[in-house]
Amino acid sequence: MNTPKINKSKLLHTGKVASKAIEILCWAGVALMLMAAIAAMIDTSWATLNLMPDSGISMNGITMELNQGSDQITLSAIVAMLLGCGFCLALTALVFRNLHAVLKASQSGSPFQPENVKRIETIGWLSIASPVAALVVTVLCKLLGGPDEMEFSLNLSGIFMGILVLILSQFFAHGVELEQDVDGLV
């Protein structure tokens, strides 16, 4: 079998490095969210003091806005938001971890490996799960005492991307079958 040219691709190498860097940043974000949640629970004045009327918090698709001066956000809602954002960031980190694994495997051999199909499928499901999780967290924040006029939104582009990636994973699965067919061909 010929050595695939893909393992010399600079784009793949750059992608591999970038995906690892983004994964690390996302995990750092998860750690920060956890620390912020713990800090908010320890010092209850921390969060409320920094939230002024006509201001808001927006993180990772989850938005809480204080439209009126009388709006209040409870500590539970803030903690839920921070933990929810941490969870969404963890999902993003897992997307990039899988992407890095796909690129690494593709550089050392053929990209059409059964493990890569599973990884790409996982990326698809995680991409769909992330905006859904953000919506669930927004609803949770509202139930735990978020502002009266809270914005509920579902990032459809993330879901569409997930569906697209899942479809592409099926093409990859076909590629694996074709590669297994020619394995042993001289």
């Binding site: 020619v182 394995d183 042993g184 061909l185 001289v186």
Partner: protein
């Protein structure tokens, strides 16, 4: 179901041709020819078969045989 058995090693001995020499004439790597010799392949291209037949002056039937299991 039976299987195809390759007799490349026997034909090479009859033609007194080494693996390296055949590899150069056919344009297939030693590794792949070795797999052919040892029946380790699952498929062969017509182009490879044509080149081997031309190099060894033989027919495809000389190189392979169907055997019942």
């Amino acid at each position: 179901m039976g299987k195809i058995i390759l007799h490349l090693d026997r034909v090479m001995v009859e033609r007194k041709m080494s693996l390296n020499e055949l590899s150069e004439k056919v344009g297939v790597s030693n590794v792949n020819l070795s797999k052919l010799k040892n029946n380790k392949v699952t498929a062969i291209r017509f182009s490879t078969l044509e080149a081997i037949c031309a190099a060894l002056q033989c027919q495809p039937g000389d190189l392979m045989e169907y055997a019942e299991e």
